[in-house]
C-alpha cells in the first residue's frame, strides 16, 4: 500500500481487524408508506461502535428484532449503512463499490442460519466448497476441499454427496468448510446452531471452537442463546432495539451482568434443572 493511514497505524497497534464507529442502518417502512411519496425510515441500528481484535470471538446477542443480524450484515456490507464508518483491516470499506469490495470479500465470509437453504440442493458437497475458491482464482482446489473437510471433521468421501443426504449438523459443517476454505480473515456466523438439536449443536460448536484455536480465526457469532455464546466467545455485545446495552469481556458479563436486559436474557434460559429459580 502506498501510504499508510493514521487509522491503520492505530489498528495495527492494538491489532483490531474490524471496527465500526457510529454505525446506523435504517430501512424504509413499507407498511407505513403513503400511496405517493417516500416511505418513512425505520431505524434498526442507532450508532453502534465496536472493535473486533484479530483472533478473538465476539458474541452478538439480542432478542428477535434487536438488530443483531442487521449489524452483522452491515459489517460485511451486505446492507448499506445510512451513517457511520466501517474499517476492515485498517481500510475504510463503508463506501467502497462492489468492484473494489470483491477482493476484500474473500477475506470476510459468512456462515448462514439455515444450512438447507444456503447449500445448493443440486450440487455435491465437493462442488459447493470448491465454487467460491474457483471464483476467487485459487489453485489446487481439490486438495483444499479435502483439507476443509478434514478441518470440520467430515470424511472426504462426503465430496460426492448431496446436501439432502446429510444431517442438519453435517450440513452446517459443510457451510463452515465452505467459509474456511477461502482462508478468510473474518467469519460472520449468524445463528448457525439455532436450527440444530443439542447433540449436533455441541458438535458444530466444538468444530468452530477448535478452528478458532487452530486457524486463528476472527469470528463474530450472532445468537439469541447466551449459553451458546458463553461456550465460544471472548467478548459479548448485547443489543436491544438497535442499541448496545452491554459490551464487555464474556466472563465479566456472565458473572455480573450490568444491564437489566442482559439479566432478563440470562434468566430466560431454561437450564436442565427442575429447581431453577425464577421459573
Amino acid at each position: 500500500m502506498a501510504h499508510e493511514t493514521v487509522a491503520e497505524e492505530m489498528s495495527t497497534e492494538r491489532d483490531v481487524l474490524f471496527s465500526a464507529k457510529g454505525l446506523e442502518v435504517a430501512f424504509p417502512d413499507m407498511a407505513a408508506k403513503p400511496v405517493f411519496g417516500r416511505a418513512p425510515m425505520v431505524r434498526i441500528l442507532n450508532g453502534i461502535d465496536l472493535e473486533i481484535t484479530r483472533g478473538s470471538v465476539l458474541g452478538i446477542v439480542g432478542g428477535s428484532g434487536s438488530g443483531k443480524s442487521t449489524l452483522g450484515r452491515a459489517l460485511l456490507r451486505l446492507v448499506e449503512p445510512t451513517a457511520g464508518t466501517i474499517l476492515f483491516d485498517g481500510q475504510d470499506i463503508t463506501h467502497l463499490n462492489e468492484d473494489a469490495l470483491r477482493p476484500i470479500r474473500r477475506q470476510m465470509q459468512m456462515i448462514f442460519q439455515d444450512p438447507m437453504s444456503s447449500l445448493n440442493p443440486r450440487r455435491r458437497v465437493g462442488a459447493i466448497i470448491a465454487d467460491p475458491m474457483q471464483m476467487h482464482g485459487f489453485d489446487s482446489i481439490s486438495m483444499r476441499v479435502d483439507e476443509a473437510l478434514d478441518h470440520v471433521g467430515l470424511p472426504r468421501s462426503f465430496r460426492s454427496r448431496y446436501p439432502h443426504e446429510l444431517s442438519g449438523g453435517q450440513r452446517q459443517r459443510v457451510g463452515i468448510a465452505r467459509a474456511i476454505a477461502l482462508k478468510p480473515e473474518f467469519i460472520l456466523a449468524d445463528e448457525i446452531v439455532s436450527g440444530l438439536d443439542v447433540s449436533s449443536q455441541a458438535q458444530v460448536l466444538n468444530v468452530l471452537a477448535n478452528l478458532v484455536k487452530d486457524l486463528g480465526l476472527t469470528l463474530a457469532f450472532i445468537s439469541h442463546d447466551l449459553s451458546v455464546i458463553r461456550r465460544l466467545c471472548d467478548r459479548v455485545m448485547v443489543l436491544q432495539r438497535g442499541d448496545i446495552v452491554e459490551y464487555g469481556e464474556a466472563n465479566a458479563v456472565f458473572a455480573a451482568p450490568q444491564a437489566a436486559y442482559t439479566r432478563e436474557l440470562l434468566d430466560a434460559i431454561p437450564l436442565p434443572d427442575p429447581q431453577q429459580a425464577g421459573w
Binding site: 428477535s64 442438519g168 466444538n206
Partner: protein, 292 residues
Amino acid sequence: MSAFLTVHNLSAVLHGFDQRVLRSVSFSIDTGEVLGLVGESGAGKSMIGKAILGILPSAISIIEGEILLDGQDLQKMKPADRRRLIGATAALIPQDPLTALNPSRRIEPQITNRLVDILGWIKSDARVRAMELLNEVHIDNPERVMASYPHELSGGMRQRVLIASAFAANPKLVIADEPTTALDVTVQKQILRLIRELQARHSTAMVFVTHDLGVVSKVCQRLSVLYGGKIIENSSVPDFFQGPKHAYSRALLAATPKYTDPDASLLPVDEAVIEAVAAEVLAADKEWRHGA
C-alpha cells in the same frame, strides 16, 4: 384413576421399508399430567404425536398396537368417528406458528372454525369464546388481533393465537410439538409459562415434544427419551435430572449447554454411546420379529 391416554406397543412402518419407524412404543398419561417426549431429530418424537392425532403422513402406517383415548381404541373405530372423537377431545400446538396459520385469512375464523365445524357452535358464541381465549393467553387487544392477518403479528403473538385456538374447545389432551423452538429465549419463557398456566387451569393431559432438556425440566412431570423410534428411558423429571439411568440419556444431558458452567466443554453425544443404543434398538427389533 385410569389413564386418559394410553399408547400400547405401538409400531409403525414407512411404506417400502422393512424397518419400523416406531418400535413398540408404550406410555400413558393421566388427566392433568405432562409427559415430555425427548430425542434428537429423527427419533420419532413428533411422529408419536401425529399418530395419536391421526395425522400421520400417508407413507407411514401403524402395523400394531393400540392408542386408547378416553378408553376408546382409536384403531378400531370408523375413520369418521375417530376424527370426531379426536377433534372434540384433543388439540395440537404446532411448532412453526407461521406455517400453521393460513396467511390469507384473518385470525378470527382460524380460532372459531373448530368450534363451529366440529362442535356445532353458532358463530356469535364462538366469537365470544375466541375473545375470552385471547384474553386468557394475555393478548391485550383481542378485537384488533382477531381482525389481523398472521403476517401482522410477531412470532410470540402468533404462538399465543395458536395456543388459544388449541385450548378453544376445552380439549382433554393437548399435543405440543416443539412449540417454542422458533421463538427467542425471552418469548419462549413467556410462552412456556402460558402453556403451564393453561394446562394446570384446565387439568389437561399433555404430550410435550421437544429436544431441549432445559424446557422439559420446566414443564413436564415425567419424560420418555427416544432413540430410533424406541423409548429407551422412562423417568420422572426430578429423578432424571438427578442422574439419568441410560448412557444415551446421560450423553444427551451432557450435550445441553449450561451458561452457569463455562468450563464444561460440551460433549457431543459420543459415537460409542450412539452405537450402543443403536445396537440395543436393533436387538429389540430382532426379538420383536421372533415374537411376531
